[in-house]
């Protein structure tokens, strides 16, 4: 087992309506992410996956609980933590008026990279994600699949040690999804820790080392695919998810 990279400790998240908490999206979530592993956050829509990945990315603060990196709270040195994290959101939040090339250039600058390093890294990513033909295209003109590739490229520009992919293949054609899986597997080979949020079970089965099953803001199971299926006495991840849903009802 590799060493623990990140620890999520008793994280709760409530959304307020006035002064009252109207919805508790996460109800005391705890688990670890190991160095160089791909962890799948699995759950149905509304389970709390996006909220959890936003907290791990440090976009949203938890209502209570903590996220520990190297044993220390990420909130004590947020800037240092953000330097090693890449976040690929579900909705494409691109700078629509710049070209893909310019977007990547500025993304590198935002992370304080030296100009030659940005140029080198930019070329590597354009090649890796097969974006060469679109480098001078304004991002608003890209198709869904290429927008997603670009988002992954942007989140990798500063060579993060952890990348959070929030539903990266939603709405994409099957062949593009398979190409993105290949890219994610390559990242894993490079030693990048990956958190993949998805509700496509075949995607989790194809990519991740361990899964974290989440339902109604609670962690229901964490472990390798075989461990989780064995614990629930099921042969498919889909059946585990159905069993979890049935537990609730």
């Amino acid at each position: 087992m590799t060493s623990v990279f990140l620890s999520i400790k008793h994280v709760k998240k409530g959304y307020n309506k006035g002064r009252k908490i109207s919805k508790e999206a996460l109800k005391g979530v705890s688990f670890d992410i190991h160095e160089g592993e791909a962890l799948g956050l699995i759950g149905v829509n509304g389970a709390g996956k996006t909220t959890l990945s936003s907290i791990i990315a440090s976009l949203t603060p938890p209502t209570s609980g903590d996220v520990l990196w190297k044993g220390c709270s990420i909130y004590k040195n947020l800037k240092a933590y953000r330097m090693i994290v890449g976040f690929c959101p579900q909705k494409p939040n691109l700078d629509q008026l710049l070209t893909l090339d310019q977007n990547l250039l500025f993304s590198g600058r935002f992370f304080g990279m030296a100009e030659p390093d940005i140029l080198k890294r930019k070329e590597e990513l354009i090649e890796l994600l097969e974006l060469e033909s679109y480098r001078d295209a304004v991002t608003s003109t890209l198709s869904g699949g290429y927008k997603q590739r670009f988002l992954i490229a942007r989140s990798l520009i500063h060579s993060p040690k952890l990348i959070i992919l929030d539903e990266p293949t939603v709405g994409l054609d099957p062949h593009i999804r398979h190409e993105l899986w290949k890219i994610i597997r390559n990242l894993k080979k490079e030693g990048v820790s990956i958190i993949l949020t998805t509700h496509y079970l075949e995607e989790a089965e194809a990519i991740v080392d361990r899964v974290c099953m989440i339902d109604q803001g609670k962690i229901k199971a964490v472990g390798t695919l075989s461990e989780v299926m064995k614990n629930y006495d099921k042969e498919k991840l889909e059946d585990v998810l159905l069993a979890i849903r049935e537990e609730k009802s």
């Binding site: 603060p61 953000r82 939040n93 008026l97 304080g112």
Partner: protein, 258 residues
């Protein structure tokens, strides 16, 4: 590091704005020239205005035009917050969210400033003999341009923080911004308002747009007819700090960010 990111954010906006600038300048020029011709030449022919009314209106028009451009940009941000939230990318950079919001306001301020500067040259061309450059206090003009446009930037950020839908912007415009402008010493000086009624004068002092007009005119036309330059300067920075503080606090809550 934060300063470097802050500057890179501004640099990115400049690159985008460079493409928009000629069109924006043309929009403002057309409005400005029409405005100045009507109020500077036609209206005085009807009588009832003093000499130099055209120059008086011109300075107010230049000072205020920036806000109309910025309000449009505020609308884009309101749309973004209720839609794709591209701003969330900036909120994940290794920089505090307070600085991200300040950058946004200052970027808008700069964009409005670079529209205002050429309008002064055009204005001088339109009122060649009436606009006496000996009355201009140049460093005060520089300070007033910066102060007014920074105020506009944070005022727009404040609007973003209090509005949830872009459609609300036009309602706010008609109900609040336009009355604030019209009562904010656009067509008259503060001293005239005070002469009409002391209460109207005092009310005008709680309208930040009064200071926008008075500071610009004091710097260009001389201080004797207007509020003291430094009083307007201090008041505008006060409004900027208060509106900026409220805006940033509210935006952090709305966007639920660190």
């Amino acid at each position: 590091m934060s300063a470097r990111i802050f500057l890179q954010l501004l640099r990115r906006d400049l690159l985008i704005y460079k493409k928009e600038y000629p069109g924006k300048l043309l929009d403002m020029l057309i409005t400005f020239i029409v405005w100045v011709i009507v109020f500077g030449y036609f209206v005085p022919k009807m009588g009832g205005t003093s000499d130099g009314y055209g120059v008086f209106i011109m300075v107010g028009a230049i000072a205020s035009f920036g806000v109309f451009d910025i309000i449009g940009k505020a609308g884009i941000l309101i749309n973004d917050i209720s839609g794709d939230r591209t701003i969330s990318y900036l909120l994940l950079l290794p920089i505090s969210s307070t600085l991200v919001f300040c950058y946004q306001a200052l970027s808008w301020a700069f964009q409005s400033l670079v529209i205002a500067i050429p309008l002064y040259f055009i204005g001088k061309g339109l009122f060649w003999s009436e606009l006496n450059l000996h009355n201009v206090t140049w460093y005060q003009l520089g300070l007033s341009l910066i102060t007014v446009n920074v105020f506009f930037g944070f005022f727009a950020l404040f609007l973003v923080s209090v509005l949830y839908k872009v459609n609300d912007l036009s309602r706010i415009y008609f109900r609040f911004i336009n009355p604030l402008f019209l009562f904010g010493c656009y067509f008259f000086t503060w001293k005239v308002a005070y002469k009409i009624s002391h209460w109207i004068g005092y009310l005008a002092l709680i309208d930040p747009f009064s200071y926008v007009m008075e500071i610009s005119r004091a710097a260009i036309l001389g201080t004797h007819e207007y509020l003291p330059f430094w009083a307007s300067f201090a008041a505008l920075w006060g409004f900027t700090l208060v509106l900026g503080y409220i805006a940033i606090k509210r935006l952090k809550t709305i966007l639920d960010c660190l």
